[in-house]
Symmetry: C2
Subunit: 217 residues, 2 copies
């Protein structure tokens, strides 16, 4: 599998988690920052290699083989992120782009040794689950903060968006994984929230709340 094929497989995997039907050309093109015509070309090649099922105009779905390949790439991505944060003292907003490169290093042995070296972590620095060598991963119940009712106490478990700007926003407001938050007010007009954290009240927009995974306690 080439660098580019791996990126396509990974993107199709991520899109499959959100919409379980056939993944359409434009969605892939959007994620991979290419054009629909390029996607069609690549998707044909992936179908040739039996990594996806593809019928013209009907979108693609991963085959078993493709699904496993995708999970192994995600495994590598997230283990490298853990390595960078835990061992090399990178911050959680710095690691994604580096992991995008490191995930393409081809060695099962390397990644399994790294997994062991890190103590078989179950989640990456953004709260996302890390597949084990067989593709198994934990499923933690989480919901978006924007969907939680008033006066509930929640714990922050992960982020939906892991872009540097969002993560830096969270750092600035001292929100990290494990932070405990109480929802004090919901503004009907713009769905912004007033939350209580460490005895301090903070106002956050609906967009922020819609990118923060929490569990009700």
């Amino acid at each position: 599998m080439t660098y580019s094929e791996e990126n396509y497989i990974k993107v199709i995997y991520h899109l499959s988690l959100v919409s379980p039907k056939g993944i359409n050309t434009n969605a892939i093109a959007g994620m991979i920052e290419s054009k629909a015509s390029s996607v069609t070309d690549m998707v044909k090649k992936l179908a040739e290699k039996e990594l996806v099922d593809y019928q013209k105009y009907q979108g693609v779905t991963l085959t078993q083989k493709g699904l496993h390949a995708a999970k192994m790439i995600v495994r590598k991505h997230r283990l490298w992120e853990v390595f960078l944060v835990e061992k090399l003292d990178f911050t959680w907003d710095e690691v994604h782009d580096l992991a995008e490169e490191l995930e393409h290093i081809k060695s099962e042995k390397l990644i399994n040794r790294l997994d062991e070296f890190l103590g078989f972590p179950k989640e990456d620095p953004h709260g996302d689950p890390i597949p084990d060598r067989y593709g198994q991963m934990i499923k933690v119940e989480k919901q978006l903060l924007s969907e939680v009712g008033l006066n509930k106490k929640v714990m922050c478990l992960g982020v939906k968006d892991s872009s540097p700007s969002f993560l830096q926003y969270l750092d600035k407001h001292q929100i990290s994984l494990g932070s405990e938050i109480e929802i004090i007010n919901k503004e009907a007009f713009d769905m912004s929230l007033t939350i209580l954290m460490n005895g301090k009240e903070i106002l956050i927009s609906n967009k922020i709340a819609g990118n923060l995974f929490v569990k009700v306690m």
Copy 2:
């Protein structure tokens, strides 16, 4: 710089260490396992980017810029090798091919952090010097075992060839960096050596002796 350009620069660097004149097309092709015509094409591109000086039919030499780039690739290669051996328990014969991939990961910050994490090692698992972030590296006096006179006591400091088969040969005979060796006999006919190591006599061929760096003690 692309993956391929980096490989060319690195090969030109390694060849420059042995022969200080212009590096010729065929030598590069041999190392990179490509054809002379492909080398000519790439060399033109590298000259365009001012990484090498090139005149038709006269071979290439690295510019200052090219030399620094090459050292940074070698730095990455060797630091990753140290990481794999020291932290992930790989053996010295397993790491080269993996490092060939890892050396292309583009991040100064990552490699400097890795350097620090490893305790700023000065040599890689094969006894080769690791350039620091400015390209500086230690210069240890070593010579090939094949060039040392009779009855001398030497310490093994490095290998010229770091192919798995050679390294596995050394493992099998329990020769490692730091091993102390005394040369007992040199066969005039084939230049094979009888050496004394840990009280045991071993016969080694001239080819083996010609790939082992030692210092006379």
